[in-house]
């Protein structure tokens, strides 16, 4: 067990807390107590999320920490005050994005007087009104943290409409012409208010929205949502359905990493490599359609299980050829010096930064931080037997590309194992799971899944079979936090698309 300087251990804390579901400990505290504890927790646990939720008396602030050792989550719950006793961004730099969101949504000042950006609504959006604390002032349209661009530098505005087939976001690139000095992101042009839409909906409808949160992570986000609902309602998932979910999750991971290779090819101007990766990507999407009936595996998951089984014969017959062509592509790419040179040393994230910013998924693993929920936070004891998480150094684009390749190999190994070892899998249409018409008293659950981009978290509260509160925290929310850091690390203008392709995040997941 890790120990901070205070000698505090998570195991001690867990003994003082209450538990509403396995692997999740709740600690209810005063605001001052929470401020004290956060400073002590920061070095020994990974900050995962912070949000505000309605409680019986007023509003509550919830901080979620992940503990790799015990494989669980710690929730620190305290009343919402106008400000937090310690400057969070100093003890918990990872929480800056959430601090900005809380300021805009609830008018909560970040501690220490740190300037905040208006993140959720871009300045031009006067029509939509954010939620406000009762009696709170309406924010002015421009509350972005002031930043100075001076000397020879200019801020080159790029977005929100960008290149063909790219998602909308605003990137302010501060440059003197070639070298990138700084970058400012505005990410919420695509905010669809998914969490607010879920309130009052049935679980099936809310799951539909969770899936649309991030189309290229539909399985992962829907899985985290379904697990949250199952934890809240106390539903056990059949082992065959659980493995089928993992199968879909790994197929999603495979096509995403190959999609990242195609984007890297485009970003580096390596047309042949891009074309090869696109052929493989299209083959993966067609395989998804054969195995699960949808190119992006939409509509597979439901609360309590899966809607249908996999076409195992189709999957089995495609695996060997897919793997051979993938290995050939990766070998060719790594033997192309002009390609490797562009990736090497570009967009570097140090291990220290990955820890400090609470990064997850392949971006963290490429920086040497071996965080992977498939190893540390296993939901089922049988699915990921013998799983080996990927890990690379030194956190540049090349390391992320290598992590992606290693994860495709490991996912193919897992899929082959499940399909060929006689692991029970859902192989037909399933009868509706028990979650569909579940009606009961108020309950809450935390769900998680290691999506292709890293840890996705969903906090869900239900009452009478309907959602009363939802918080989505896709992996993109955590990892975009490091994107501007990666751009600042001695890069030139043309490195931006390469860094973006290697991060392989979605704007939709961030903007929700």
């Amino acid at each position: 067990m890790n120990e901070g300087e205070s000698g505090l251990t998570l195991a001690q804390l867990a003994r003082n807390g209450t538990s509403s579901q396995p692997m999740v400990v709740n600690l209810h505290m005063s605001v001052a107590g929470a401020g004290d504890l956060v400073a002590k927790l920061a070095p020994i646990a990974r900050f995962a999320d912070m949000f505000v939720r309605p409680a019986e008396q007023g509003l509550e602030r919830v901080l979620v920490f992940a503990d790799a050792q015990s494989g669980g989550y710690l929730r620190l719950i305290c009343p919402l005050d106008k400000s937090f006793p310690v400057p969070l961004s100093r003890v918990l730099p990872a929480a800056y994005q959430e601090e900005c969101e809380l300021y805009e949504l609830w008018g909560v000042e970040p501690g220490g007087g740190k300037p905040v950006n208006r993140v959720i609504l871009p300045p031009s959006a006067e029509t939509a009104e954010p939620l406000r604390l009762p009696g709170g002032d309406r924010l002015s349209s421009e509350v972005r943290a002031p930043h100075v661009v001076q000397g020879e530098a200019i801020e080159f505005p790029w977005g929100p409409i960008r290149g063909a087939g790219q998602e909308s976001l605003y990137l302010g690139l501060v440059t003197t012409g070639e070298e990138l000095l700084d970058a400012y992101l505005a990410m919420f042009h695509k905010h669809r208010g998914l969490e607010h839409r879920m309130v009052g909906q049935t679980l099936a409808r809310a799951l539909f929205l969770a899936e649309r949160c991030e189309g290229l992570g539909a399985v992962g986000n829907a899985l985290a949502f379904a697990r949250a609902a199952e934890a809240a309602l106390g539903i056990a998932v059949e082992p065959a359905a659980e493995v089928t979910r993992c199968l879909a999750l790994e197929l999603e991971r495979i096509y995403n990493h190959i999609g990242s290779l195609a984007a890297l090819g485009a970003a580096t101007g390596l047309s042949v490599g891009q074309a090869e990766a696109e052929i493989l990507l299209e083959d993966c999407l067609r395989l998804n359609a054969r195995v699960f009936g949808h190119r992006y595996i939409f509509n597979l998951l439901e609360v309590g299980g899966v809607r249908r089984g996999a076409d195992l014969a189709a999957l089995d017959s495609a695996l060997d050829r897919l793997e051979a062509r993938f290995e050939s592509l990766v070998a060719d790419l790594l033997a192309t010096n002009s390609y490797v040179d562009r990736l090497e040393g570009a967009g570097t994230i140090a291990a220290e930064a990955a820890h400090r910013l609470g990064l997850v998924g392949p971006v963290a693993r490429a920086a040497g931080v071996a965080t992977d929920l498939r190893r540390t936070h296993q939901v089922s004891s049988t699915s990921y037997v013998g799983f080996r998480p990927a890990r690379e150094q030194p956190g540049d684009c090349l390391a992320r590309m290598r992590v992606g390749a290693a994860e495709v190999r490991e996912s193919l190994r897992l899929v082959r194992h499940w399909v060929r070892s006689g692991t029970p899998l859902q192989d037909d249409w399933a009868t509706p799971g028990p979650g569909q018409d579940h009606v009961g008293g108020p309950a809450e659950g935390l769900g998680w899944a290691e999506t292709c981009r890293g840890e996705a978290l969903v906090h869900l509260e239900v009452a009478g079979g309907r959602v009363s509160f939802a918080r989505l925290r896709p992996a993109a929310t955590r990892n975009w936090r490091a994107f501007d850091d990666a751009l600042r690390a001695r890069n030139v203008f043309t490195d931006v698309p390469i860094v973006e392709a290697s991060f392989w995040l979605t704007v939709a997941g961030f903007a929700r």
């Binding site: 031009s124 929100p160 409409i161 790219q166 909308s168 695509k190 669809r192 991030e214 939409f298």
Partner: protein, 175 residues
């Protein structure tokens, strides 16, 4: 290029019923698009999609579909674009950008709405999204699907160019 002479039947007649005028307007638009038939430059705008439509759009230029063989190209600027390919449910925060892109395009221009979102199939009109993008820009061709496959997208683009025949329309009896 020889100017194309419009078929008098394509023009709205005085005293024609509203439906007839709409139908005539569609025919007129289609004729004006005919000048672009052999080459179309496309600008894409995401107004809040989940990203799956973008993935399918990126695959249009991949070897399997290679839409360049049909004279279709992406362009990085609306000034060079004939076609606006719009995805997403019309997030209100994107209104300004979407309208600016549309207005920056030279005429004749065509708008193709991609996926279920811009048709109002996923989100309704509320304080975050418009639900349908027709409130912001006029839509000429819709390509339904969640997401529509690259083949469906190519079909929609060729339809916009009047290079293939429209077999089914949303309005009954229009054809």
């Amino acid at each position: 290029m020889t100017p194309r002479v419009l078929d008098p039947g394509a023009l709205p007649l005085p005293g024609a019923a509203h439906g007839e005028i709409d139908a005539a307007a569609v025919r007129l638009k289609r004729r004006s698009m005919a000048v672009l038939r052999r080459s179309l430059h496309i600008r894409t705008v995401d107004t809040g999609s989940c990203g799956a439509c973008e993935s399918e759009i990126r695959l249009l230029s991949s070897p399997y579909y290679d839409f360049h063989r049909l004279g279709l190209f992406f362009t990085p600027t609306p000034r060079h674009a004939d076609c606006l390919l719009v995805t997403g449910p019309g997030c209100r925060a994107m209104d300004h950008a979407l309208l600016s892109a549309y207005e920056a395009m030279p005429a004749p221009k065509v708008v193709v709405a991609v996926g279920a979102c811009p048709l109002g199939g996923v989100f309704g009109a509320d304080r975050y999204t418009r639900g349908e993008i027709t409130d912001v820009v006029p839509v000429d061709v819709v390509v339904p699907g969640c997401p529509p496959s690259p083949l469906a997208l190519i079909h929609g683009l060729l339809l916009a160019l009047d290079r293939i025949e429209e077999r089914i329309t949303l309005q009954e009896g229009e054809q």
